[in-house]
């Protein structure tokens, strides 16, 4: 069976849980501590698709409400982007709208999926589904609810990117 490689980047505001999602997906664990990512960290995980193996090279970028030249340099060659927002902080949804605009400006057209993260924090949730629907339509990307803590929706997010990549290629 052949192995295909793809570069996937994670984008989103500070502390929305990008690193935690990657950690959960790659190492299967969660850490309560917050260590803000500086620059970029690259991890890898192979997943099985119906007729091939997919080697995902995952670029976890430093978070922010905007991105600069350096970030756009890291995005070059990305086939897919997982945009992450935090269900307890409505402003982090707005950040994703900015990112979408900037992606269009630098003429990148990767596959995009939104992970609305920290769904386990039920009591603190401040974003309802209708806001997510709206965001999804605005930036033209499907969304799913995830929790880096419980693992809910984590593998599904990457699977969805893989599926969209296949669809795009065919």
């Amino acid at each position: 069976m052949k192995t295909v490689q793809r570069k996937i980047c994670l984008l989103g505001d500070f502390s929305v849980g990008k690193t935690s999602l990657v950690r959960q997906f790659v190492e299967g664990r969660f850490d309560d501590r917050y260590l803000s990512t500086i620059g970029v960290k690259i991890s890898r995980r192979q997943i099985s698709r119906p007729d091939y193996l997919l080697n995902l090279l995952i670029w976890d970028l430093a978070g922010g409400d905007d991105y600069d030249d350096v970030t756009s340099g890291y995005l070059r060659g990305a086939a897919g982007i997982l945009m992450v927002c935090d269900l307890t902080r409505p402003l982090t949804l707005h950040t994703l709208r900015k990112y979408r605009k900037q992606l269009d400006e630098i003429k990148l057209d990767p596959v995009v999926v939104i992970a609305a993260n920290k769904v386990d924090l039920v009591a603190e949730r401040a974003v309802d589904d209708s806001l997510l629907e709206e965001l999804s339509q605005q930036i033209n990307a499907p969304y799913l609810l995830s929790s880096a803590k419980t693992g809910e929706g984590v593998a599904a997010a990457f699977d969805q990117i893989a599926g969209l990549l296949e669809k795009k290629k065919s």
């Binding site: 295909v4 490689q5 350096v70 070059r76 990305a78």
Partner: protein
């Protein structure tokens, strides 16, 4: 201390018997306390002596048990003291430690060396590595480009001692990994590792290298004006040497000091690969079906480089060898000198004789009768015999050469040449014959002025002036020379 009772004069002289008894009573009355105290103290001394004896005995028997306890306490005390008065402690201990160290070194040198090696050894290794790197840079800056028989002469002319170069070439060097990486994605297109276990993480390493390059580029050259790239990353003795191509870049992880010309060779490798696979490299999207068939290209290259190094390493040049080289070098200089003289005379000749350029679309054989005296007769006869050029689109210019001997009739053989001073548009290896399978010969840098001699299929034959070897001819793939359309002979050179 004086006691008032004893110092006083008695009022009447006492009888001797009275005196003794009284004296004894008085003494026991007055000194009872002191006596008891003395006795107590004597007992204390005795018991302390016993204790000391006991401790001394213990110290002898259980030295190893006592030492840690004492050491701990001492170091605690020392720590406290240092914290309270750092300067004072330093002042107080400095001379003692200095003296102790001196004595220790004198008395047990080997032990000291062993104890200090882990601390000092690393620093020394680092310093030496750094020194050698500096040495390598200095030498390289003065000897590049190299190649050819004139090495030693050229080096001397540039003030470089050939033995320094020999030493520089003999420094240990090893390529442990070599990556061929796609620029944007950081995907590994091919990877070579001396130790195959290193292959597992090659994609993560190449990803991080790509991120670092990208970071450096976007941070220090955000407008992408300069074509400078990150070209090496140092980590202790290991070193990553990066060489950038248009779509892919190469990263060599090496140990030790890179040999002269290593970067040029790496660039040559990239040039070759680019020439053959550029489109495939660009099209590669992570799907192995789009990966060009590189077939251990890197491994072969590493083997070639290493074979070249072992041939070259520790110079055992006998004086005979050196002499032969010198002789060859001298001969080449003589030939060059003659060439220059003829050129000089040739350049003066037309002016002196009032010659005009021959018609542009013919190959001309010009027979010139000339005398070498400074005053040339104005009646020199020129007999041009015209032969049609085999390649009629070229614009040849007559290049007559004359010999300065008076009695000879110089024959001038012109060659079809393109317009002078075309330029190389990027770093490229020249080859002796127009064949990619032939080993690279001399590296040409961007902007080198060349004469285009002929274009044959995918290849252009050029002539240029190499700073060391002098005027040479060689072949480069078409795209590397900026050709104006009139230079082209039966080929669609893409420039």
């Amino acid at each position: 201390m004086s006691d008032p009772v004893f110092d006083q004069e008695p009022n009447r002289p006492p009888s001797p018997s009275d005196d003794a008894a009284l004296w004894a009573d008085l003494q026991s009355l007055l000194l009872a306390q002191e006596r008891a105290r003395v006795h107590e103290l004597e007992e204390l001394v005795e018991s302390l002596q016993e204790e000391i004896d006991h401790l001394q005995k213990q110290l002898g028997v259980q030295r190893e048990l006592v030492v840690p306890t004492v050491t701990n306490s001492l170091s605690r005390i020392a720590n406290d003291a240092v914290e309270q008065d750092r300067r004072g402690m330093a002042g107080a201990l400095g001379p003692i430690i200095g003296e102790a160290t001196r004595i220790q070194i004198r008395d047990s040198k080997d032990e000291m060396v062993e104890a200090l090696y882990p601390i000092i050894g690393d620093s020394v290794v680092r310093a030496v590595t750094e020194r050698f790197r500096e040495f390598q840079r200095q030498i390289d800056a003065r000897i590049r480009p190299r190649g050819g028989v004139l090495d030693n002469v050229a080096l001397r002319l540039r003030g470089v001692n050939p033995s320094d170069v020999a030493l520089r070439d003999a420094l240990p060097f090893e390529i442990t990994q070599l990556f061929l990486i796609q620029h944007d994605t950081g995907f590994v297109l091919e990877h070579f590792a001396l130790d195959s276990s290193q292959a597992a993480d090659s994609d993560l390493i190449s990803g991080m290298l790509t991120a670092i390059r990208s970071f450096m580029e976007d941070s220090f050259d955000p407008t992408h004006e300069s074509d400078e790239d990150l070209d090496s990353i140092y980590h202790g003795d290991a070193n990553v040497i990066l060489q950038s191509g248009s779509v892919v870049y190469a990263a060599a992880v090496v140990n030790g000091t890179e040999p002269a010309g290593f970067r040029a060779a790496l660039r040559g490798l990239l040039t070759d690969l680019n020439l053959e696979y550029r489109d495939d490299f660009e099209a590669y999207d992570g799907d192995p079906e789009t990966l060009p068939p590189l077939e251990h290209h890197l491994e072969t290259w590493v083997e070639e480089i290493e074979a070249g190094l072992s041939e070259k390493s520790p110079s055992t040049d006998s004086s005979k060898k050196v002499l032969t080289r010198l002789a060859v070098a001298l001969m080449v200089i003589l030939v060059l000198l003659c060439g220059f003289m003829s050129w000089f005379v040739w350049r003066l000749m037309p002016t002196a004789l009032g010659l005009t350029e021959p018609p542009p679309t013919v190959v001309a054989t010009v027979v010139v009768t000339a005398t070498p005296t400074a005053t040339l007769p104005p009646t020199a006869t020129i007999t041009p015999s015209v032969t049609p050029s085999p390649t009629p689109t070229v614009t040849p210019s007559a290049t007559p050469t004359t010999t300065p001997t008076a009695t000879r009739t110089p024959t001038v053989t012109p060659q079809p040449t393109g317009s002078p001073f075309s330029r190389i548009n990027g770093p490229v290896w020249s080859r002796v014959v127009p064949d990619l399978d032939e080993p690279p010969w001399i590296a040409l840098i961007e902007g080198t002025e060349v004469d285009v001699l002929i274009v044959q299929g995918e290849w252009t034959q050029i002539r240029w002036n190499d700073p060391i070897v002098g005027e040479v001819e060689g072949w480069v793939p078409n795209g590397w020379v900026d050709l104006s359309p009139s230079d082209t002979i039966g080929s669609d050179a893409d420039s």
